[in-house]
């Protein structure tokens, strides 16, 4: 019967939850944990079967699910440094070649991107160096052949 999930992770039947949220409309809270619980933040749960209609006409429509855009990493090769806006033009290198130069750009742009790119964990630094060496090798390879 129209199951819904609150943002705090508690499962209810929509008819019951709606009545409770309406009853305390100034400050709607989850019946279980008292977390804030706005009606439009409730997530419907869909089974695989056909959606059954609730016969009670007094029951308002269950909120629709939200459809956020799938997350896309602007820096496909991994270790994003927060320099997603930096674009490269006029290069003929294959996409994976961006990476080593991206790091260098990241370092020079770090002042304008809120220090995000300047802070590197040892792991990131290690990976950066690895990719830089790899990039240089491939570049040398391309130049030699």
């Amino acid at each position: 019967m129209s199951p819904v999930l609150t943002l705090c992770g508690h499962l209810f039947c929509w008819a019951c939850l709606h009545q409770w949220l309406e009853a305390q409309h100034q400050n709607p809270t989850c019946p279980v944990c008292k977390a804030g619980c706005a009606q439009d933040k409730v997530i419907p749960i869909y089974g695989r079967g056909k959606e059954q209609l609730d016969p009670r006409s007094t029951t308002p429509k269950r909120p629709a699910g939200q459809r956020p855009e799938p997350f896309r990493n602007p820096n496909q090769t991994g270790f994003a440094l927060g320099t997603g806006q930096v674009t490269f033009t006029g290069t003929m290198l294959p996409p994976f070649m961006f990476t080593p130069f991206g790091i260098q750009y990241g370092a020079t742009y770090s002042g304008t991107i809120g220090g995000n790119g300047a802070v590197q964990t040892p792991m990131q630094a290690y990976v950066s160096r690895m990719f830089f060496m790899l990039g240089t090798l491939i570049l040398v390879g391309i130049l030699l052949y």
Binding site: C16, Q19, W20, A23, T29, P31, V32, K34, R56
Partner: protein
């Protein structure tokens, strides 16, 4: 027309209580969905060990969206810093902290734990004035909740 929500909910609670009541809790009278009377026994090893109390639950048509009216009745009202001698109980879940996940059984358990954690059997300090002025329904009292540690 389907059974109203309070009736569906209370028949389920009654079934659960009959099958599996919390320790020290027994149904005395639950013949309708308006008023139930339950027995509550003081837990062994506490200040109320061996005592028997009676609780009255009054359910409105909006139960469980609204809390029931709960009070101690009969000739043995627990002497406790949060229980007035007219049976009114100072317990937040019965009033502004009510939520429909509470049940008759969970209220009984809360009351039992309130009794069990008591370290000195004393009436509330304002008992005399409160009992003189309070309305019959404890839900009409503007409760200022004392701390829960007593």
């Amino acid at each position: 027309m389907a059974k109203p929500m309070f009736a569906r909910r209370l028949s389920k609670e009654l079934k659960d209580l009959a099958m599996n009541a919390p320790a020290g809790v027994n149904i005395i009278d639950a013949n309708d969905f308006k008023v139930w009377k339950l027995g509550l026994a003081g837990a062994p090893g506490t200040l109320y060990d061996g005592e028997k109390f009676q609780l009255e639950f009054n359910f409105g048509p909006n139960y469980p969206l609204e809390s029931p009216q709960v009070l101690f009745v009969g000739d043995n009202i627990p002497v406790h810093p949060h229980i007035y001698s007219n049976g009114h109980i100072c317990l937040d879940v019965l009033y502004n902290h009510w939520s429909p996940v509470q049940t008759v059984a969970s209220i009984c358990l809360s009351l039992q734990s309130m009794l069990s954690s008591c370290t000195s059997k004393e009436p509330p300090p304002d008992n005399a004035t409160y009992v003189k002025t309070a309305r019959a329904n404890p839900k009409h009292t503007a409760w200022a909740f004392h701390d829960d540690t007593v």
